[in-house]
Amino acid sequence: MSVSFPKEDLRQRVRWYLGLRWYLVVTLGAAGAIPQFLQEGFVAQVQQNVAIILLVLAINSVFLGISSFRGLRYSVYQALAIIQLVLDVGIVTGVVYLNGGIENIVVALYVIPIIMSGALLGRRVIYLTGMAAAIIYDALLVLDYTHVITPQNILAPALHANGNYVVQTLFFAPVMLLIITVVTDFVAKLVRERTQLTTKLEVVTAERAEIEAIIKSMGSALVAVDRQGKITMVNDAFEHLSGWARRDVIGVDLDTVLPLLSERGKKIESDKRPLLQLLNSDPHSPASAIQHVSRYYYAKKDGGIFPFVGSVAPIVLLGEVIGATTVFEDASSIKQIDQLKTNFVALASHQLKTPISEIQGYATNMLQGVTGRLTKQQTDYLTAIQEITLRCNKLITDLLDAVVLEQGSIRVNIEAVQLSKVIKRVVTAYQARVKQKSLKIAVIEPEQEITVRADGDTLVEIIGNVVANAVSYTKKHTTITIETKADGDEGVILVRDEGAGIDKNVLEHLFLKDDVLSSAPEAEGGTGVGLYLAKELLSLQKGKISVVSSTSKGTTMAIRIPLKGRKHDRSSRSN
């Protein structure tokens, strides 16, 4: 039997024990006292018995009262039960002594509760002892009845005082006692389960409170919405950031409380809003639906806006999407730092242009004979210096462009542009470079002029970047072919080289911002930014770039740009 159990469980068992016992004392006491009372000659004894019963009841009631207080120490409840038990045993002993023998009523009054206490308090020893005593007493009754034995001393008064053997036997019948034990055992179990349940509930409530406390005190703002896009939960950080009070937003549409704005300040409609779009995600792969969001703004309650960075994720429960959450932080300071960094890069790049121009100027002058005749070696050296400075220049220009692009403030002026003119400019710009590497540029153009809708200058830059890349990757004495044609509603510019092809690993990174070209075999330390820039600038003009490369056939880059006549807006800004 368990020795230690939760305090509440113990309290309940003690209460049950004292309560059942109280009930038994009253009923058995009445059942026993009344017939005695009706028999004359036993008035004194009855009075005595009633007095004892009342005393016992009083003590019992006090104990019962104390046990109804929760939160007392463990030892208090235990003490109540033990004291009661000791009292019961003491009273039984005392009565036996006083009466000169066992009074069956008294014994009944106390043996049964003792057995009960044993069951309820989990002390098998107690109730087994009780049951043993009852069985022995029963046996004696039967033996006496059948005149097998003649009890002496203590047992005599009890056995002979009342001839009602049947009643006596019934009281002490082991079967009845067993039933009492089983019933109280069952009651004990129920009590235990109930207290366990209460304890579990308390634990769950405590855990829930803990989780709520975590969410409440998080540093980042949290908003949860249900399937209809109505807010179900927000935390303190959200209240601070948005200016809304929790009670005012629960159950309200997300768009009303926290409208999403683009960098330009334009409101993003509900159906285009990432958080709400997540409500339709696949419940079986919620992780794939998680998005990290930046470059957006939220509007506060007072109308002010702030940039934020955060993530959105669907809430999946039992295989169903029941809502979505977003966690975000104010990114104003991040944006500020980013802006400072961008400005710095822009400024630094700018400043670099001057000294590079100076180097170039000196080298060019020397090559043109300003300082007098040059030896072959001097010419070679100076040519190298010139080429290198040209490359530096290009790098700086690309860096600056990339920075401006990132800021989102680059402008493209889309107008009608003749491809032949663009190609001519590109060829002119790269003539020297191409000659230096003993390469040739071949241009294939159709008879009819192709007119596209693009920003002429950036198109020159884009094609130039592609050509520069081809120059890096192709072998000496080969030809770079630029071919233009019209394909459907797009103008296509193909730049083909006869190089060794671009490695597959490099291909993947070609249009990204990281510098992969340095690991390429004949890399002339290309910009690393050039092709990324080409792609970005193209996308601003609704154009695309793609590349096909093989070791045998070389590399072909295809630039597609909408033809004039395709529906387009006149001039556009990025984003």
């Binding site: 100076e358 000196y362 300003v370």
Partner: protein, 139 residues
């Protein structure tokens, strides 16, 4: 070395940075019949123009004292000096800068970082051959 040709034409080079002044001066010195005068800032440039009007001015847009734009607009708005061809140049080379300069009356522009010095020389030649002044035979 003895140079038999006496330079008859003057070019005023306005540039605040020494290296560029040296580069352009040396490049322009390849042109035989030109003499190169130098000014380091806007004020100095205007003073020199008034003292002796040059045949061509190369004007940096970024100058201390008075900006290149100011010098440009002042000269082009003055009937006396309006006719002098002015080539403006700058490292910046932003479209807006160039447009602004051309609107103010500049005759040509150069982006320092993109245009090698010799191309400058060619531009100068082009601008000036269209502006041949009839000179008296004696040099």
């Amino acid at each position: 070395m003895t140079d038999p040709v006496v330079p008859t034409k003057t070019i005023l080079l306005v540039e605040d940075e020494l290296p560029f002044r040296e580069i352009y001066r040396d490049a322009l010195s390849m042109l035989d019949d030109f003499k190169v005068l130098e000014a380091e800032d806007g004020e100095e440039a205007l003073a020199m123009v008034q003292k002796q009007p040059p045949d061509l001015i190369m004007l940096d847009l970024v100058l201390p004292q008075k900006s290149g734009f100011d010098v440009l607009s002042q000269l082009k708005n003055d009937a006396k000096y309006k006719a002098i061809p002015i080539i403006v140049y700058s490292v910046i080379g932003e479209k807006l800068e160039i447009e602004k300069a051309m609107k103010l009356g500049a005759d040509d522009y150069i982006i320092k970082s993109e245009t090698p010095a010799m191309e400058v020389v060619n531009k100068v030649k082009t601008l000036l051959t269209g502006n041949v002044r009839v000179e008296p035979a004696s040099g």
